[in-house]
């Protein structure tokens, strides 16, 4: 399929279980998802449907007692498909933050209260982009030296350029640092008064990068904000700082786990606009997890609807809103309060995931349930162009 | 009839309570002026009767619960239940026969007191049995969610072997304390009949090594060590419970008032707390003992207990104050106020149950630590009077004998090692239990 070449991430048959005191919670059941390069995919569902853990599974960040019991998470990296579930920790650490980044719901708890904003954002930068920054510094120094040699510069220009020039010693130490930031020479050097200047210059470079990021996030007065602690920030600013952390290494895929749920509606608008603009600027792919259908309609190109641990419908946003196929999607859209109309709700409760129904998990609440829905699991069928449904009603129409 | 509540209690319960009270009074009378044998047999009869209904009734509930959940333990409990039931019924038959015979003979000899006693007891049995089932039936439904919580707690406790060891140790000491009269019979004339005074076997100040007559040897003054450590467990538990309990009550009072009402009351009470805390604990208690003994108390151990309470309450006050400050602003407290609850009610039903757990944990740990403090005071000579059955006191007697002579320095090891071991293991038991309790009650560790 030519479609495959456009995809960035694929999830196939993902099974996730939590082994708890009360039993085995089958949190995810054969989840199938594909994210196209450059799009915004929405993952929508209610509490407990598994949308957040799907995001975590993509980064293989499920804490015990959870365990991924099967399936693949395929990322298209370096021109090939890599199954992230089968990689070593070291490899995963190079992926997290770098290729795939995640931002969370409550910005205040995503930020460590005892470190400044700058320190936290620079953590990510230091981990992934250290070599790049060092190279940049070295190059700049070379260029500056060249320009200085040419002469005929004003005092101010001279002073400015002198700042970026590195001495031979500093250069050497920087190169060492670039190779191995934990080496013993480098560590000692960064403590000795004269030698540690190279580290200071590097830190300054990192700080400049952080401020640049904060400015990108449209935070007013980024120099001051960088030195603030999380509790001094308002909700909206804190969320922007978290987004800055997430984007600091230019990831290809950004997983946003309900980033605006806790924010006021006007602030939400600001953040959503910001995300849209950033996406255009950096060319990111976004996986937007939410329970708000309005946000989905605003932000997303395609959307996946999840219920009780499975993806029940997947397709383009316009198509799904106009023509929802799965009974749950239909019911969900009906639930949206509209003035003048009576409130519609969905009968019944979400089934317990410890003893989920054998067949379709929605069968006890589905108005179209048939006999086979109780015992047989439905298949993920392709109905129409790029429109998938997990439902027995459409077995005839599938391709 | 069961279920209706005029005046808040059922008629049956009322009759039951009246009969029980009458029986108690008559029983006491009988012990002194009547036929003690009758009392004993009749008491055993009601005892077994009671066990049969209450005990097996409760057991039945637990069994039923376990059976429904399908655990193997359920079957064990069922078998145990059946056996217990059978044994008690046999015993009941015997004692019941005894009661009938007594009734008959009392009737013949017109022993009014015995007769009335037995009548009261029979009434109680007659009505009580029926009522118990009613009470239990209701309790069954009400207790269900609580049972679930207990079961969860027990499971967590069972999982940790250290907590079981702690529990075993504590139970061992309780056993010692309860059965002291049997394990080390008192009543020696030498000490004036007070079982808490250790009997002496001679007057020599040199301790005698363990032998057949004195399994743990005798310490200076020829006090029997075995007797001392066994009865010492009573005094240890008594000190622990009274002092920890006293500190808890005073600390709670101060802490609750300070935290709930805030403002200047909070300031004053907290400064008071700070003042007491500023003194080194042991030294303050020593000073207090020296003052209290001649003025208030005769028995110095009581002075020790009071001084330890005075030194100990600030810890509880601070702890409960912190918890209450945290809970005071919770939504459900505000909701209770919005309904019109009085301050007292808010504190009692909403704030206390949610804040008491850390305090309870410290309480269990304190039970051991206080005994240690009391022993330290005794070692310094400020504890119980010489010859009193208290572990610290026994060690005090061994002060001169810790280092005997150069050739055999630990010749008299038994004088301090044995009571020392008893103390250490006691404290260890409570510590383990307290630790286990904390792990179990910590809300972050509870679920999953």
């Amino acid at each position: 399929m030519t479609e495959e070449q456009e995809q960035l991430l694929r999830i196939r048959d993902l099974d996730l279980r939590f082994y708890t005191y009360e039993g085995v919670v089958k949190a995810l059941d054969s989840v199938k998802l594909q994210v196209k390069d450059g799009e915004t995919l929405g993952i929508v569902g209610e509490t407990g449907c598994g949308k957040s853990v799907t995001g975590f599974s993509e980064l293989n960040l499920i804490p015990p007692p959870g365990k991924i019991e099967g399936g693949k998470v395929l990322l298209f990296k370096d021109k090939q498909w890599v199954n992230l579930l089968r990689q070593r920790d070291a490899y995963l650490r190079s992926v997290r933050g770098n290729d795939i980044s995640m931002i969370f719901q409550d910005p205040k708890s995503a930020l460590n209260p005892v470190y400044t904003v700058r320190r936290q954002i620079s953590e990510a930068i230091l981990h992934h982009r250290k070599e790049e920054l060092c190279s940049n510094m070295l190059e700049e120094s070379k260029r500056a030296t060249e320009t200085l040699k040419q002469g005929n510069l004003s005092e101010k220009e001279r002073a400015a350029l002198m700042k970026t020039v590195l001495t031979k010693r500093e250069e050497r130490l920087l190169r060492r640092f670039q190779e191995d930031s934990d080496g013993i020479t480098v560590r000692i050097a960064s403590k000795i008064p004269v030698l540690k200047r190279f580290k200071q210059k590097f830190d300054e470079e990192v700080r400049r990068e952080v401020v640049r990021m904060l400015k990108d996030m449209r935070i007013p007065d980024p120099d001051r904000v960088a030195e603030m602690y999380p509790h001094e920030l308002s909700g909206g600013m804190a969320q922007r700082a978290v987004i800055a952390m997430g984007l600091s290494c230019n990831p290809k895929l950004l997983i946003a786990d309900e980033p605006t749920t806790n924010l006021d509606v006007t602030v939400q608008l600001q953040i959503l606009t910001l995300i849209k603009d950033l996406k255009a600027k950096y060319g990111m792919t976004i996986q937007y997890i939410t329970h708000d259908m309005g946000v989905v309609a605003e932000m997303c190109d395609r959307v996946a609807v999840m219920y009780a641990g499975s993806v029940v419908e997947l397709g383009e946003v316009k198509e799904i809103f106009k023509n929802p196929l799965h009974p749950y999607t239909k019911a969900l859209l009906e639930c949206i309060p509209r003035p003048g109309r009576e409130f519609k709700s969905i009968e019944g409760f979400v089934p317990s995931l410890i003893n989920p129904p054998a067949g379709c998990r929605f069968n006890d609440r589905c108005p179209y349930a048939m006999d086979q829905c109780v015992s047989k699991k439905p298949e993920f069928l392709l109905v129409g162009k790029d429109h998938y449904v997990l439902c027995h009603l459409y077995t005839g129409e599938s391709k | 009839m069961v279920g209706e509540r005029p005046l808040g209690i059922t008629i049956l319960s009322a009759l039951y309570i009246i009969a029980a009270v009458v029986q108690l009074a008559l029983g006491v009378m009988l012990l002194f002026i009547g036929n003690p044998l009758a009392t004993v047999i009749a008491n055993f009869d009601s005892f077994f009767f009671g066990i049969l209904f209450i005990g097996t009734g409760l057991l039945e509930l637990i069994v039923g619960y376990y059976l429904r959940s399908g655990e193997a333990v359920g079957w064990l409990f069922t078998v145990g239940l059946l056996i217990t039931d059978a044994v008690i019924r046999v015993l009941l038959l015997v004692t019941y026969g005894g009661v009938q015979w007594l009734f008959f003979s009392a009737f013949l000899s017109l022993d009014v007191v015995t007769l009335s006693y037995l009548t009261a007891q029979s009434t109680m049995a007659f009505f009580g049995g029926d009522n118990f089932h009613a009470i239990l039936g209701k309790a069954g439904v009400e207790m269900q969610p609580r049972f679930k919580e207990w079961k969860f707690t027990l499971r967590l406790v069972r999982k940790s072997s250290l907590s079981l060891i702690g529990a075993a140790i504590v139970l061992f000491y309780v056993f010692l304390a309860l059965f002291a009269p049997i394990l080390a019979p008192p009543g020696d004339v030498t000490q004036g009949g007070d079982p808490m005074m250790i009997p002496k076997d001679g007057v020599s100040l040199i301790p005698v090594a363990p032998n057949a007559k004195h399994p743990f040897g005798t310490t200076a003054g020829q006090y029997d060590m075995y007797y001392g450590v066994i009865w010492g467990s009573r005094s240890a538990l008594r000190i622990g419970v009274l002092v920890a309990g006293g500190s808890l009550i005073v600390g709670l009072l101060v802490g609750i008032l300070a935290a709930y009402y805030g403002g200047w009351l909070d300031e004053v009470l907290m400064r008071l707390t700070d003042i007491v805390l500023a003194f080194p604990g042991l030294i303050l208690s020593m000073a207090l003992i020296v003052v209290l003994v001649p003025t208030v108390f005769v028995q110095r151990l009581d002075a020790v207990m009071l001084s330890l309470v005075i030194v100990g309450w600030p810890g509880y006050a601070r702890l409960i104050r912190g918890e209450i400050l945290r809970i005071k602003n919770e939504d459900y407290v505000e909701a209770a106020k919005s309904v019109g609850c009085s301050d007292f009610r808010v504190i009692r039903s909403h704030i206390l149950p949610n804040s008491i757990y850390p305090v309870l944990i410290v309480f269990t740990l304190d039970l051991g630590t206080i005994v240690l403090a009391a022993a330290a005071l005794s070692f310094l000579g400020l504890g119980a009077s010489p010859g009193y059955a208290d572990w610290g006191q026994i060690i005090y007697l061994s002060l001169n004998w810790i280092y005997a002579k150069a050739s055999a320095p630990f010749e008299y090891w038994f004088t301090f090692i044995i009571p020392g071991l008893f103390i250490s293991i006691f404290v260890l038991g409570w510590n383990l239990l307290g630790d286990a309790l904390r792990d179990v009650l910590d809300p972050t560790l509870r679920r999953k």
Partner: protein, 346 residues
């Protein structure tokens, strides 16, 4: 039924060595509104605007700094009190009248009796229900405290109430954590209604539950309103829900009421620049609709140092010179539509 007259709640800020008052957090700054009997009054605004503080102050869970709260007070008495206050005659008559009619001055037993008439449902039922109390006890408590019913009679009322909110007797002997979010909120609603109040404050009651459960709860609210003849004050920041449930809506910003109108009128024709921005920020669950958005700059300023004049002027696109110095008052622009903005000062 409920009338607030210039209600204010200031929190004093102390500073310096002698803990002197250096400033005040003006959480509620002069709110006057009327809630009619039987209606649902919606109060919207973002976090920090003071809507929750307003509700709690009206319920006397927080004590107001100044202002009157009239609950079911005859008009003549209200007028009399207002006249006396205007003339600044702080005499015996005023005090007596206030003690009898002004909720803000109630104390002791009168206050407790009043609590029966006004109740509140909180936002997060996990936090508003005592985790160590059985449902039965949670529901029996208001009855016992207000001396309505005890023992078996009380239990009967509790059972009826539970049934009315969609739960059953089997839920009596359980702890709150054994229920789902929606069920917990129902228990909270049952607790609020068990004393048969006349006015119920709903503080974002559906924001912590799922969309499908939300509709169930909203239907429940409507049903209960009819059955118990209630008046609601619905506080929310979810504008789409308020649109469906409220008869009249008030918009708050930084402690002040900036706009007040009937729901259909307000949503069709928001006038105050803040309301316009607020309504345009609601995400529409329809991808084909492209709405014109007003994106506000900056954040809501802290209520410690509110901007001078009109509180919204630093962020307002249509700010004029007068907005920086003079505070606008609520003006009637016809059709029961009130706005506090200099743009409409004709």
């Amino acid at each position: 039924m409920l009338e607030l007259d210039d209600l204010k709640k200031y929190y004093a800020l102390t500073g310096g060595l002698l803990r002197r008052k250096v400033g005040a957090v003006k959480a509620v700054d002069g709110i006057s509104l009327v809630v009619k009997k039987g209606e649902t009054f919606g109060l919207v605004g973002e976090s920090g605007c003071g809507k929750t503080t307003l509700a709690k102050t009206t319920l006397r869970l927080i004590n107001p700094t100044s202002g009157n709260i009239f609950f079911d007070v005859p008009d003549e008495v209200k007028e009399r009190i207002r006249t006396l206050q205007k003339e600044k005659k702080a005499g015996l008559e005023l005090r007596k009248l206030k003690g009898q009619w002004d909720l803000a001055s109630y104390k002791g037993r009168k206050l407790r009796e009043m609590r029966r008439m006004m109740q509140m449902v909180y936002q997060d039922p996990t936090r508003s229900l005592n985790p160590r109390m059985l449902v039965k006890d949670i529901l029996l408590e208001p009855l016992a405290v207000q001396n309505i019913a005890k023992g078996a009679a009380g239990l009967k009322r509790v059972s009826e109430m539970l049934e009315r909110v969609g739960l059953g007797d089997r839920h009596l002997y359980r702890y709150p954590h054994e229920f789902s979010g929606g069920q917990r909120q129902r228990i909270a609603i049952a607790r609020a209604l068990i004393t048969t109040p006349k006015l119920v404050f709903l503080d974002e009651p559906t924001s912590s539950v799922d969309v499908s459960v939300r509709a169930q709860l909203l239907n429940l609210f409507q049903g209960l309103r009819k059955d118990f003849d209630l008046t609601y004050l619905y506080i929310s920041h979810d504008l789409s829900v308020v649109e469906c449930i409220a008869d009249r809506v008030g918009v708050m910003y930084l402690g002040k009421l900036v706009e007040l109108a009937r729901t259909t009128e307000l949503y069709k024709r928001p006038l105050h620049p803040y309301s316009v921005a607020l309504f345009s920020a609601i995400p529409v669950p329809d991808p084909t609709v492209k709405r014109e958005r007003v994106i506000l700059s900056g954040e809501v300023p802290s209520p410690v140092n509110p901007p001078s004049g009109c509180r919204f002027h630093p962020r307002c696109g249509s700010a004029m010179q007068v907005c920086q110095t003079q505070e606008p008052k609520l003006i009637d622009v016809g059709n029961e539509h009130f706005v506090a903005c200099h743009l409409f000062n004709k």
